[in-house]
Symmetry: C2
Subunit: 212 residues, 2 copies
Amino acid sequence: MGDEPVRRAGRGGRERVLAAANRLFAAQGITATTMEDIAAGAPVSKRTLYAHFPAKEDLVLAHLDHIVTGGWSVLTTLARTDLSPRERLLAMFTVQPWPDGTVRGCPFLHAAAEYPDPDSPVHTFARNQKLTMLRLVTELLTEMGAADPGALAEQLVTLADGAASRAMVLDDPGYGRHARAAAETLIDLATAAQPGGDQHDQAGGDRQGTTR
Amino acid sequence: MGDEPVRRAGRGGRERVLAAANRLFAAQGITATTMEDIAAGAPVSKRTLYAHFPAKEDLVLAHLDHIVTGGWSVLTTLARTDLSPRERLLAMFTVQPWPDGTVRGCPFLHAAAEYPDPDSPVHTFARNQKLTMLRLVTELLTEMGAADPGALAEQLVTLADGAASRAMVLDDPGYGRHARAAAETLIDLATAAQPGGDQHDQAGGDRQGTTR
DNA sequence: CCTTAGGTAAACGCTGGCGTGTACATCGGG
DNA sequence: CCCGATGTACACGCCAGCGTTTACCTAAGG
């Protein structure tokens, strides 16, 4: 991706466009957001918009990529080293509302839903992101010495996606708490923690059981 | 009087339109499906289409209502009397693919995502359906004598919604099995079921796993 | 028979979204 | 001080989608 048309890195047009896309796609849905909306919201001229993104689908893909490479994705949280693996997993369930107070769901689920063809580039990108996420969670669980990390990882990410979707439809920023409670139960079971024991922490130092 | 324009219940035009909407909304997304698409897919003349549904949003709402009142919703499964409460709950996790083999997510989550305004009639309808569903699950769990039925119900429907969303994005009709496994674990915990009393199997029997 | 409700077919006006063309403004570097 | 890369402002061509209009068809029932 080094061959971007940003040799001189102009006045930040591209970045503003991506910020506007992030905001407008979330606020209106992707298909319902027009290129004029993006240009007006950037703000950037339509000509510049099309100079950076030849077609709308390019913008959608760049938008999704921007969420991943920028710090907007939960992927970033999962990689934080200042938190214990358990804390990082549970951070998946913190639904963050927008400045206007409303709650949007997972952008990747949105994108996949609006591009239903499984072979569509957008749908494929969303799927790959979900798989990457799953892999990270699996690794984290393995590191924690959980029983059957693969199965548990599927369950946790399913809870996270469900929480994001329901927080959106119910418009409840705090909805993640239910999924988080379920996740704690399942994690504790798989790591053989005592249910009465509040929180058996053991932050970074856990090393046993894994190959490392 | 005469709210509905179906005095004489013509030759099934309305029903065919709803069937086409069901199919096309799922296949292409709502916003991406045009009224022409619906008319051509019914098949019905555009004039008849607009005679039944004055605007597209009316069609969308009627479509969602059709899923509920017709037998398409999981609500129906939850009300079946030939299944045990536990079986009815677990039936939520059976993702049904379309005849073409692809997997669509929950229509209500889709609709809410494509009508992001929380006060929009469509979004509101979807939210109400989710709340109805939650209430049914809560009642079922209460009937089963589960501990804290309200909290567990939230967790189960979150798992179900997550499973539907992920089955869609991953295009995997069998994806519900992961959520189902988690649901069984949580239900068994809350109902204090004895291991081995039922067929209570659960993936990965060796739970002693970690060194701790 | 004629009435009447429902449906069909094709064209139309209107709006608005996509993507382009053209001419002009700005700014940093040689 | 000019050059070229970048961005702006604005209008345009094109087409598609929404919803309507006009005119005609078909079948059931008095």
